[in-house]
Amino acid sequence: MKMTYPKKLHDIYKFEIDDRLFVADLDRCEVLEIDKLVWDILDICDSLDAEQIIETLGDRYTEDEIMEALQSLEKMEEYGLIFGESPSHAEERGGRMKILAPRSRVFEKEMRWTALGGIIAHTNLLKSMTKYADVYVTREIDLIEGAHLIPLDLRQRASKAKAISMGFDGVFLWFPTELEFLDMVSYMDSPLIMPIHEERGENGIMINLVMIWYSLLRDFDSFVIFSESTREFYSKFLMDPSFFKLIPLGVDAEQFRPMDKQAAKRKVAEMTGRAEILERKVVGFLARFQPEKGAGIYIKLAEMNPEYLFLVVAPSLGFYSNCHLPSNLIYAGRQPREKLPLFYNAFDLFCFPSLLAETFGMVVLEAMACGVPPIVPDFHGARYVVGDAGIIVEGKSFQHDIGSLSGYIPVELLSEAINRLMKDDHEMERLSRKARERALKFSWDASAKELIRLFKELNLRKRFIKRRRLFHVTFSPVYEGKSSGVKSTILNLTQYWETPLQRSGYTQSVEEGIALTLLKRHSMREVESVLSYICRDRRKASEVLSRVNAILESVI
């Protein structure tokens, strides 16, 4: 077995205690017990090759012994221990918050080709945050300019220990799907922020993930949502909508800005080989071209309006590549992000007929930043982005199946709206100006500052709620001459053996007693779900929870 020595060592520290020898790998936060031979090897293995090591130590150990030890050390290297480059840290600027942004999965290799809005949004947020805080990412792929790389595998105890010891001011998670970070609520004393890029997911998968996080996040953690539509949705069945903090996403208004429309159209016409782009008005579509994103509606729009061109920018045509598409529908192919402003500018209108519960609609904002008026439905987050700077068409919400799709727009309504606007140059120009003006109010910097502010607020909140006084509770039957019912009693005794109440005990309902006792080991939001089950009535459950909150807040 060929062994490659000398090797670069991590930052290690050797020590002896009670006649036992140890080496601490300070980069990896692990401690290994070693023998004298390995101890001696570690003194010289960063400067000598294997043969030289054997020669140097040959007076004390046999060759076989040394070889075996060297091979063991190679194994350690495979595990990432002892050897390797120490991670270099960008210099921390004093007085700034330290934010950890861990990620476990990689979705796409290159940002420039990604069609996943969540990835784009999150990366841009982190990039902007580096201006105001020291941001630490855990994977090289996430390393952006200004961020620090701290290789952590948060499934391992050593990495968890390192995360704790670094004393982060906050943790900015990526996606609710990354459940491997759930146990951070048990050991990280810093506030966690979980953004909700996707409101429902397929068949409610995201709903269920958000519910799990909702249960486990602590009172000083938070969700971040990008439009009120997400809060409106979750308010229907969660009792604490204040847990969702609104921080709209931003847009790079330098990158996405109005250009000379004719010049843009000319360029796009050249790229697509469709010269008519220069002569006819263009309704744009920029998203994954799939039914859920309203591709079918868009195709019908094209069929209904042969006088306009319908220009699609998407990773692929997917299912529709096998369909007969109208001749006025042009597929521009998959485009890298740096080319997107060009295509937006080639649109006269931007159409976003998505059936999904869009939390924001970044593509809508990008189009607006390029001065292109948008047309969106009224049943998801895009309407909050558009405001009065575009057309919001009344759609139909899906009432029963809330798990996937949000609603749909009857294509006739959409067509009517498009036609109305396309025939009104004055209105088009007005909305174009308004779209750009409004888009300028959304910036990544502003979003990043809001996030930092939120982390500060949560840290303050953490101090307030550090010691919650929970009282001991007992349950027993009620005796009024005969057995009649069940009661719970709050005893004048907290888990810290304090006795703050005036009386020795107060009788409460069983539901309140269950809530108070579960709070010793579970969050208020878990208790909420238990009460919903026990009370079988959300209103009653909500009342119980309010009373319980009142009891707890009455004692400092």
Binding site: Y13, C29, A161, T474, F475, V486, I514, L518
Partner: protein, 548 residues
């Protein structure tokens, strides 16, 4: 995020390098950089409790840094670093030392005089056999000398809402005696993890409150605590509404045989007749009725039995209120026992009588029954359960029915016939008197005290047998049911989010802080299915038992 100190530490090695402090946990194989405050906190964590650690850190570094460092240590503890569990208090070996909670002196006014005398006798008897201390609030410092003179060490407790007196009980005490019969006030003493005997003496004044208090206590009783009743009828009345026989014992009170003993009957009758100013008590046979039934039932019973037996004088003992009969017949008098003078009359009263009738139900003082028997008084017990075993062969037992399964209906006719029949049979009466005397000799305060001490020993041995509820954590969360398009409440077991039945998960979590009785009660309340509730709890306990 908090952690309780003191904690037992893993094997830790600290070192400095490049101007930074590092702490290596050699047990789990991790090393972290640590700030000075957290390093100091770690040092303190093994020796001091939480408040002391915080105090020392605050003094040196200020409150914010102190709390931050504790938070960090709590985080490390959560991932299994540095700590391996709370330091358990070591039970003192050697002679037993018992503590009476300070609630006792506060509750004295609630009791009848008879109960107060009984409890006093119990405490003084215990003090002769064992080291006994009593917690005393400042308002009772006038009792210190009296208690000290009886060999009872007093511990002055300042009332401070920041700390329960239960938390101040030092490790030297091997058990706690809870005498106030007020569960809510005594509850903290039942939770500190020492053996506890909670006394429940049948007392006219407490009435139904005693049953509720006892029920409340029984449901929260830990394996190292018991409810100790003065008589089988007290226990039965409680168990009827809280069937937890494993938590209930009966240790009868004692009898002061120096005070309660046979005397000349004629002389006694004359004295009582004079005291009551009723000549019928000198002329007619006297029958004592022990008061304790609910007021209406007692009034009805007394009225009827007096009317039917106008050739017998009835003395109702320790009634409350004293005069509830309108147009009281001449052959009945009421004798309240309010003070020492009244109490000292009891031997005369018992010796003057031919028989003692008592309903064996809660509210009837057992010590009055045994004291009467010690004077050679035959007894007629009326009860809706089995014959009280305390009576042994002594006395007559008359079975009564219950209305609605709860209130005892005293069979007046049967009682009347029986007492008349007995009064006509001198030989049988003599036999009953001898049986009473024989049985009464079994009751003494020394014996009662010894039984209590023995019970404490039994409870001490059962400590440490608590079940450990291991297993992965449960999380409760909503879940979207796509088939129904509804949001439901679910329980999941981490880390794989395995769905668990809601009742099962709830029971698992509640059992970590509550007794099986409480949890069964809760599940029954939620589901309405008592059998299923018991099955669930039994299953969880069985698993915990295997794991423990």
């Amino acid at each position: 995020m908090m952690i309780r100190f003191p904690q037992q530490l893993n094997k830790i090695f600290k070192f400095e390098r490049g101007g930074k402090i590092y702490a290596a946990d050699l047990t789990v194989g991790c090393v972290v950089e640590m700030d000075e405050v957290t390093s100091y906190a770690l040092e303190l964590s093994e020796r001091f409790d939480t408040s002391e650690v915080i105090k020392r850190l605050e003094e040196r570094y200020g409150k914010e840094k102190a709390l931050d460092s504790i938070g960090k240590l709590a985080s490390f503890a959560r991932i299994g670093m540095f700590f391996r569990g709370e330091r358990r208090r070591v039970e003192g070996a050697g002679q037993q030392k018992l503590f009476i909670s300070p609630v006792f002196l506060r509750s004295l006014n609630r009791f009848s005089f008879v109960t107060r005398v009984d409890l006093y006798r119990l405490i003084t008897s215990l003090a002769e056999l064992i080291n006994l201390s009593m917690g005393v609030y400042r308002e009772h410092t006038d009792r210190l000398d009296e208690l000290n003179s009886k060999g009872i060490e007093t511990v002055l407790i300042e009332e401070d809402k920041r700390i329960s007196p239960a938390a101040l009980i030092s490790e030297e005490y091997s058990g706690i005696l809870s005498l106030s019969m007020s569960f809510v006030e005594e509850a903290p003493f039942n939770l500190i993890g020492k053996p506890v005997i909670n006394l429940a003496y049948s007392d006219r004044s407490l009435g139904d409150k005693l049953i509720q208090s006892a029920i409340d206590l029984l449901f929260m009783l830990r394996p190292w605590a018991v409810l100790c009743c003065d008589a089988s009828w007290t226990a039965n009345a409680i168990l009827k509404f809280a069937p937890k026989p494993e938590g209930v014992r009966v240790i009868p009170p004692g009898v002061d045989h120096d005070l309660f003993k046979p005397m000349d009957k004629h002389s006694a009758k004359m004295n009582i007749s004079l005291a009551l100013n009723n000549h019928l008590f000198a002329e007619l046979p006297i029958v004592i009725i022990l008061s304790g039934l609910p007021l209406n039932e007692e009034a009805s019973f007394v009225r009827k039995i007096c009317r039917v037996n106008n050739d017998i004088a009835f003395l109702v003992l320790d009634p409350s209120p004293s005069d509830y009969l309108q147009a009281k017949p001449n052959n009945v008098e009421f004798f309240p026992i309010r003070d020492a003078h009244d109490y000292d009359m009891l031997p005369l009263i018992f010796n003057s009588a031919e028989l003692l009738i008592f309903p064996a139900t809660i509210g009837i003082s057992s010590s009055l029954v045994f004291s009467g028997m010690a004077c050679g008084l035959p007894v007629i017990a009326i009860g809706d359960q089995e014959r009280p075993p305390e009576l042994d062969e002594a006395g007559i037992f008359i079975k009564a029915a219950c209305s609605n399964g709860d209130t005892m209906i005293v069979p007046v006719r049967e009682v009347s016939d029986k007492l008349r029949s007995l009064l006509r049979k001198p030989e049988e009466m003599d036999h009953l008197r001898s049986s009473s005397l024989r049985t009464a000799r079994r009751f003494s305060w020394e014996l009662t005290a010894r039984e209590i001490i023995k019970l404490f020993e039994e409870l001490r041995k059962s400590m440490g047998s608590e079940l450990q509820f291991k297993g992965y954590p449960i999380v409760f969360a909503y879940k979207y049911n796509r088939w129904r398009g509804e949001i439901e409440s679910k329980a999941f077991q981490l880390p794989r989010f395995k769905e668990k039945p809601m009742e099962y998960a709830l029971a698992s979590e509640l059992l970590k802080d509550h007794t099986p009785s409480e949890v069964e009660l809760i599940l029954t309340y939620i589901s309405g299915d008592e059998i299923k509730a018991k099955e669930i709890v039994d299953e969880i306990l069985s698993i915990a038992s295997d794991e423990t």
